[in-house]
C-alpha cells in the first residue's frame, strides 16, 4: 500500500466542484454586497392583493443564487463525509478514512438530531434550540466531541493506534504515512502523521477529547455548586456576609489566572497538601447544596425527607470521601477497599474549580439581588417559608436562563483553561494526550513541522466555538419567551 493523499480518488471529482462552487459563491457575495450599498434595504413587499413578494430584479436573483450556492456547498461537504463510507479502504484518502473511522459518531449525531427535531415541541428549552441555526451548529459541534469522547473512552472505537506507542521511523512523519509492517494498529496508516515521539496524532487528538469532555463539564458543575451555594445567601441576606464573600471573590478574580496556576499546580505545593485541603473544601459544596435542596423541599414531611436524604447523602458522602482521599497525600485515611477511585488530575480539577467559582458567585449574587425584590418572593415570605426554601425553590429556578447560558460559556472557558494548563505543562504528565499538552509538544518544532500542532488546536477551537454558539443560540431562544 502507498501513503494516503488528502482526498484520494474522491478528490478528483469533489475538489474542483468544491473550488468552483466556493469561488462562485464568493463572487456572488461580493457583487451583491456591492449592489446593496447603493440600494434601499428591502426584504418583503406587500402587494395590493394581499400577497407578500420577495426582492425582485438583479439583487433578488443574486439572493436566490447565493442561497442555492450555499446549499450546494453544504451538499458537497456532506459528500466528503458520506461517499467514502461506501468506498474501499484507502481510495478516499486521509479525509475519507477519518470520516470512516468516525462512522459511529455520524450515526449517533444523525440519530440525536432526527429525534430532537421530531419531538422538539415537547422538549422545552432544549427543543427550542432546534429553531435557531446558530444553536444547532453549536450543538452539533459539541455533541460531535461528546460522542467522540464516549466512543473512544467507553468503547475504544475510533482510535487507530495506541496513543502512547512510538513507532521508529515515523518521527514527525507527514499525514497519511504508511506504518511499517508488524506495528500497524487497526489500519496501516498514520492518518494525521506522527508527532515528535513518533506517535499517531489522529489517535492522540481523539483520545484527548476524553480528558476534556470528562473534566470540563464536571469542573464547571462543581464551580456552579460552589458559586450558587455561596452566591444565593450573599445576595439574599446582603450585609457583612455579602461584603466578606464579595471581597474574597474579588481577591481571587484579581489574581492573574496563570500566576495562580503556577502557584497552585507545582509538585512542591502538592507535597504540602494544599490542593487536597482545597478539594476537601470545594467538593463539600455539592453535598451541602443537594442536602439543603432536599431538606427544604420535604421539610414538612420528615419521614419522606429522611427516606430520601439519608441514602442520597450516604452515597454522595462516600463519593466525596473517595474523591478527596488519595493514597500518598495528606488526606489518606480511608482503607483501600473503601476508596472507590483516585482522581489523578485532582490538582488540575481543583484549581479550575477554584478559578471559576468566584465568577459564578458574582453572577448568582447579582441575579439574586435582582430577584429577591419580586412579588413571588414576598408571597413566599408571607407564607412563612424558610429563607433557604425561597432561595433554592423560588429564586434559583427563576434565575435559570442566564445561568444555563453562562454554564455553556463557562464549559468553553474551562476547556480553554485546561488547555492553558497543558500548554504550560502544569499538572499533567507530558505523555497525556490532552489537547493543551499536545499543542505544547507540537509548537516546539512548529517552524519545521506544522502537522503535529494543528489538529489538536483545531479540535480545541471547534469544541469551544461549538459551546459559544450553543450559548448564543440558547440565549436567543430563551429571550424569545
Amino acid at each position: 500500500m502507498d501513503p494516503l493523499t488528502w482526498t484520494g480518488g474522491l478528490g478528483a471529482f469533489l475538489n474542483p466542484a468544491l473550488a468552483i462552487t466556493a469561488a462562485l459563491g464568493g463572487i456572488v457575495l461580493v457583487v451583491q454586497t456591492g449592489l446593496r450599498m447603493g440600494s434601499a434595504a428591502v426584504t418583503l413587499q406587500s402587494n395590493p392583493d394581499g400577497t407578500l413578494q420577495g426582492r425582485g430584479g438583479v439583487l433578488g436573483a443574486l439572493d436566490t443564487a447565493l442561497i442555492y450556492l450555499v446549499w450546494a456547498l453544504v451538499a458537497l461537504l456532506l459528500a466528503y463525509i458520506v461517499v467514502p463510507l461506501v468506498m474501499p479502504y484507502g481510495s478516499a484518502g486521509i479525509l475519507g478514512e477519518i470520516t470512516r473511522r468516525l462512522l459511529p459518531v455520524w450515526i449517533a449525531l444523525v440519530a440525536t438530531f432526527a429525534l430532537s427535531i421530531r419531538f422538539k415541541r415537547r422538549l422545552g428549552l432544549y427543543g427550542k434550540l432546534f429553531d435557531s441555526t446558530v444553536g444547532m451548529i453549536g450543538f452539533a459541534l459539541v455533541m460531535f466531541w461528546v460522542y467522540v469522547a464516549a466512543f473512544v473512552g467507553v468503547f475504544d472505537m475510533i482510535v487507530t493506534h495506541d496513543y502512547l506507542r512510538q513507532v521508529s521511523g515515523l518521527k514527525n512523519a507527514l499525514p497519511g504515512v504508511m506504518v511499517p509492517d508488524g506495528t500497524q494498529g487497526v489500519i496501516p496508516h498514520y492518518l494525521l502523521g506522527g508527532d515528535n515521539l513518533a506517535r499517531d496524532i489522529f489517535s492522540r487528538v481523539m483520545a484527548g477529547s476524553v480528558f476534556v469532555i470528562a473534566i470540563a463539564p464536571l469542573a464547571t458543575i462543581f464551580a456552579f455548586m460552589v458559586g450558587i451555594t455561596l452566591g444565593l445567601p450573599a445576595g439574599y441576606y446582603g450585609g457583612k456576609f455579602d461584603t466578606a464573600l464579595s471581597f474574597a471573590a474579588n481577591l481571587i478574580l484579581a489574581f492573574p489566572v496563570i500566576l495562580l496556576f503556577y502557584l497552585l499546580v507545582t509538585p512542591e505545593i502538592v507535597q504540602t497538601g494544599i490542593p487536597s485541603y482545597m478539594a476537601a473544601f470545594l467538593f463539600a459544596f455539592p453535598l451541602i447544596f443537594i442536602g439543603v435542596l432536599i431538606n427544604t423541599r420535604y421539610y414538612t414531611q420528615p419521614a419522606k425527607r429522611n427516606a430520601i436524604i439519608l441514602p442520597v447523602l450516604g452515597i454522595l458522602g462516600w463519593l466525596y470521601l473517595s474523591a478527596i482521599n488519595a493514597s500518598g497525600t495528606v488526606i489518606d485515611f480511608l482503607p483501600a477497599w473503601a476508596d472507590l477511585f483516585d482522581i489523578s488530575v485532582l490538582v488540575v480539577f481543583v484549581s479550575v474549580v477554584f478559578v471559576n467559582a468566584p465568577t459564578v458567585f458574582r453572577i448568582v449574587r447579582g441575579l439574586t439581588l435582582d430577584l429577591r425584590t419580586r412579588d413571588y418572593v414576598a408571597a413566599a415570605q408571607t407564607r412563612g417559608e424558610g429563607a433557604w426554601y425561597i432561595m433554592l425553590w423560588e429564586i434559583l429556578p427563576n434565575a435559570r436562563g442566564p445561568l444555563i447560558v453562562d454554564f455553556c460559556l463557562r464549559i468553553g472557558y474551562t476547556t480553554i483553561l485546561l488547555g492553558t494548563l497543558g500548554f504550560f505543562g502544569l499538572g499533567l504528565s507530558s505523555e497525556s494526550p490532552d489537547w493543551g499538552t499536545t499543542i505544547n509538544e507540537g509548537r516546539k518544532l512548529l517552524l519545521i513541522y506544522i502537522h503535529p500542532a494543528l489538529p489538536p488546536a483545531m479540535a480545541l477551537l471547534s469544541l469551544v466555538l461549538g459551546l459559544n454558539l450553543l450559548a448564543d443560540g440558547l440565549r436567543e431562544e430563551s429571550l424569545k419567551d
Binding site: A41, V134, F247, N250, L251, L253, A254, F255, P256, V257, I258, L259, Y262, L263, L264, T266, E268, I269, Q271, T272, I274, G412, I416, G419, T420, F423, F424, G436, I439, N440, G442, R443, L446, L447, I448, I450, A453, L454, A457, M458, L460, L461, V464, L465, L467, N468, L469, D472
Partner: protein
Amino acid sequence: MVSFILRRLGIMVLTALCLTFIVFWLTNLFPNLEKLAKTQGNFRMSDEAVLTYLGNNGYLQPLPVKYGQWLGVLPGYVIAGTDGEMRARCATGGQDIADAARFCGILQGNWGYSTVFRDDAGSIIATRLGLTGKLMFWVMLLMVPGALIIGVMAGMNEGSRTDRSLSTVSILSTATPEYVSGVVFIAVFGTATFGMQWFKGTATAAMDDANFENFFLPVLTIALYGMGYIARMTRASMTEVMTAQYIRTARLKGVAFSQIVLRHALRNALIAPFTVIMLQFPFLLNGVVIVETLFNYKGFGWTLVQAASNNDIELLLGVSIVSVFVVLTTQLISDIGYVFLNPRIRIA
C-alpha cells in the same frame, strides 16, 4: 466623588496586601524553600544543610515577620549564621552590616534579588515591563478601534446580514484562545507550507527592533482574543441605544442614518465598552504570558513563567505585585471612568 475614590483606594490597598500575602505564603511554603536551598547550594544537600542554609538566610523566621520585612514595615533581619558569619537582609553585595539600612522592603524600593537571572529583581521587572508595554501599546492600538468598529457596525442594524456575519466573527475570535490562534498564525504565515510566509514565526528580534514583519503576529494573536469580547459588548450596547426614544425622534426628524449613528448613538453606546476594555486587562495579562512564551518574546509574561517555574521567590513576588497593581488600577479607572462618562450615575 473624592470619598468614593478614597474608599476604592483603601479597598485596593487592602486587596493588594491580601494578594501579596497569599503569594508570599505560597512561595514560602517549606517544600518551595527546600527547592530554593537546593538550587542555590547543591541538589544533594542533606536535610540539616538545607535547614542551616535557610536559617542563615532568614527564611525560617515566622511568616508574618518575613512578610513585614519584605514589605519594609519591619526592620530587616540580622542573623549570626551557624558558620559564624553575620548576614543581614539589607546588606547585599558585601556591604558592611553597620552601614546597611534598617528597613529594606518593597516600600523602600528594594525588590530583592532574582536567583534565576542573578540580577536585581526591580531592574529586571522594569526592563521586561518596558518590552511588554511596547507589545501592549500595539495590541491596544489594534484591538480597541477594531473591536469598536466591528461592534458598532454589527449593532447599528440588528439582525442584518452584516450583523450576523460580524457577530459570528466575534464569537469565533472569543472561542480561539491565544495558544490556538498563535499556533495557527505561525503555521499559516510563519512557514512556507501554505505559500504565505509573510511574517516571522518568532518575535525575539522584535525586542530590539520591532517591525511589521516580526511583531504583527504576536500583536494580532493577543488582540484577536480580546477583540471579540469587546465587540460583542459594543454590539449589545449599540443595539440597546439604537432602540432608544431619542434615536427614533432623530429618524422621524429625517436625520441621515450615518448622522444618527455618528452624532447621536455612538457616544452613548461607547460607555459600556469603556468599562469592558478596562476590565480586559487581567485577561490580556494571560494573553501576554502565553504569546510571549509562544513567540519567545522575552517580556513581562516570559519573566513570570521563568520566575514561577524556577521558584525565583523575590522575582515572582515582584511580578505578582506589578500584575495585581495593574489589575486593581484598571478596575479603579474603570469605575471612576464609568461615573464620569455616564451622567445618570451620581455618587455623593
